[in-house]
Symmetry: C2
Amino acid sequence: MKVRLVKKILEANDRIAENNRKKLADAGVYTMNLMSAPGAGKTTLLQRTIKALDGRIRFGVIEGDIQGTHDAEVISALNVPVIQINTEGACHLDANMISDILPEMPLNAIDILVIENVGNLVCPAEFDVGEEIKVMLFSITGGEDKPLKYPLMFQKSEVLILNKIDLAPYLDVDMEKIKADAIALNPGLRIFEISCKSGQGLDAWVAWLEDKVKVSA
Amino acid sequence: MKVRLVKKILEANDRIAENNRKKLADAGVYTMNLMSAPGAGKTTLLQRTIKALDGRIRFGVIEGDIQGTHDAEVISALNVPVIQINTEGACHLDANMISDILPEMPLNAIDILVIENVGNLVCPAEFDVGEEIKVMLFSITGGEDKPLKYPLMFQKSEVLILNKIDLAPYLDVDMEKIKADAIALNPGLRIFEISCKSGQGLDAWVAWLEDKVKVSA
């Protein structure tokens, strides 16, 4: 019974996600579902990326959080359209939440919509929200055992961004193991190594993203 | 419909949790539900704590992970009874999972049972598993905005352990804000500041825990 119910919920979610994806594609909007554990640096990455592409790519952002408007305020200061979704307890965004607020997003005035998911390394990976690409951010402070312990998000993402590499000298983390295990789970995975603090590696990520958005337009 | 179902699941969970709690109390076992986001250092803390209390307190451990046996192997090397629960996708432990495997834990041979939950800052806080105390670990690398963004776990825990304080000089994190916001959410919260790497602050935590276990015996 429980299994069937979960499957039904996921099927309903997938139908709504398909509608979102069509609507976004019709409007010429490239859509990214940005996922990570809490505190990996999603909002800071977004902030740096939006600033780096200022005048070249027009962003829209949906901020998913259990409660609060902290992230939406940070992004709003960059003068891009932002909508905050408060899930009020739910640990992930689903397609219906996006469908509900999509009419409020000025799709004709943006090139890319970034959906910043709730900070959680588990459930967001299960719910398609209608994105074109899933990008996962991982803070290397989390340790090299995580790909094998939380495989689904590594498997479902097209891009893995390893953040906080400025802290590597002060950690015992085995970066090569993170990358090898992630690639073993998902051979097509594109990996970037960055520090949102020092700026290291950001140029390669920003150039890649700009290209992706322009190709999809 | 969905809301009623969730409520029913939580009510059923609470009944099973009550049974677990009674069974554990009858056996004279103090039970801790140890929760955190992925990579905050739960297993390392447990390792250090078990070693520090070797010969003084007898531990039993239940390791909750989506998949894999990494953590159980680490703890097993310390010669304490360990059971690994693989949730196969579920992002938290529930009372029924604990009830199922409790007969396999030698309750008469342990003083404290530590239940290391799945790494997730959201859902584990919603599910009582039959513990006497909820302890939450938070890595300061996660940033000072987290108590307000993920309030439930801070509210439901009796103890908050701030880990990785050895990294403080290399972060821009505002430790005072973390503590102030956590206390505002939960005025009775006991806070420890530790580094599992340098050992700083561990003595105070270990002494507090030893006292707790002995008082409850």
